[in-house]
């Protein structure tokens, strides 16, 4: 609720504050844009003067053409000057933006360092040693419990445990797969027999008439 009211009035804690530095950067970019627009205008004038000179020559007004070209030359020199200025301004803007990135990288590194230091603090050698010894104690304790449990059992009980273990092992062991009983009479090796003779009882069944 509070957030929506804040949004209504345009307050916002999430967005960065607009600083004087931001405004200075914006102004510089505006200057750069102004120069670019100025260059566009000069370019347009140059094109016009060229056009003018061409037309004057076509009409045979050589002096007029020459004047137009002279003006063009002058504008060209202005264009060159602004080129230099524009380059300087663009470099300045680029340097400032790069420095801002550097500042934020530095800030990030600093924060990372602090986090690392804090983690190290939590992992002091004493606390690690203490942890290790606590672990050792715990293992020792477990062993003691095991010992106590086994020593309290009688020999009979121990036997029963072993029997049960065996039973479970048997249950879990895979059943042995035995081959099926053969349905044909074994054939003597070496005697050529066309077909194995069927077993006797089967023959009997066929012979008895209904």
């Amino acid at each position: 609720m509070a957030a929506s009211i804040a949004a209504l009035f345009g307050f916002n804690s999430k967005l960065p504050k607009i600083t004087k530095r931001d405004k200075a950067i914006l102004d510089m970019k505006h200057q750069r844009d102004n120069l670019r627009q100025y260059q566009k205008r000069i370019q347009w004038i140059l094109d016009q003067e060229t056009q003018l000179a061409k037309e004057a020559l076509r009409k045979g007004e050589k002096e007029k053409a020459r004047r137009a070209l002279r003006r063009k030359k002058y504008q060209e020199s202005l264009l060159q000057q602004t080129d230099g200025q524009l380059e300087q301004l663009e470099q300045l803007v680029a340097n400032i933006e790069f420095s801002l990135i550097e500042v934020s990288v530095m800030h990030g590194l600093k924060q990372g360092n602090e986090v690392l230091a804090q983690i190290h603090k939590e992992m002091s050698i004493e606390s690690v040693e203490q942890l290790m010894s606590e672990t050792r104690e715990a293992i020792e304790y477990q062993r003691e419990i095991d010992e106590m449990l086994s020593s309290k059992m009688t020999a009979d009980e121990e036997d029963e445990v072993l029997k049960e273990l065996e039973a479970i092992q048997q249950e879990l062991a895979p059943t042995v797969a035995l081959p099926d009983v053969p349905t044909t009479v074994p054939v003597k090796v070496g005697t050529p027999v066309k077909e194995p003779t069927p077993l006797a009882d089967e023959e009997d069944r066929v012979a008895v008439p209904a």
Partner: protein
Amino acid sequence: MGSRKLQTHIAPSGYKLPSIHAFPPFFCFQPAAKTRVSQDDQWVQLILSYARFRRLFTLTVDDAEKTGSDWEEVLINERINRRLTKQQVRTLLQMLVARGQATYEPPRQDDSVLLYWRKPGEWAEVLHSWAVSTGQLNTIMTFYEIQAPSLPSELSDIPTPLLKRAIDILTKTNRAQIIESGEGDGVRFFAGS
């Protein structure tokens, strides 16, 4: 009458005019209400689609009855000797505004409109994804940088009122921030949530 077949026509700009544009009554508002509604729909559609094709942002009453204007191909059809009058264009502007497809710019007059072949909300999304894809987040930018980039972009030549409207929409979702300064306004974009 009726023997001439209506056909689409490729205008010099490369835009394909619909066949209805070669239908003489199309240039005369129809008295029957039902017919008129459908005619209005066709004109609105034609204007917006042509504006999008040529990236035209404004339509003014002055564009009518004038050769050499950006709108000549649509408002005049010499092949059938028809043209829209200024009064008709004014009516068209009213219709566009009433349907939310345009807005009077500047406000408080009815001679000229800013066309919404993309609604301001859509422009806001185009603007934001452009800022993201060109790595312009968290940087201060001038409007001129967006409107006149060295290489043409989807936002080249977008009129300032429309750009401002799109930025306003982004500020409501914390994706942009207007920076005011003596030299003129600027903007800073954020990734947003």
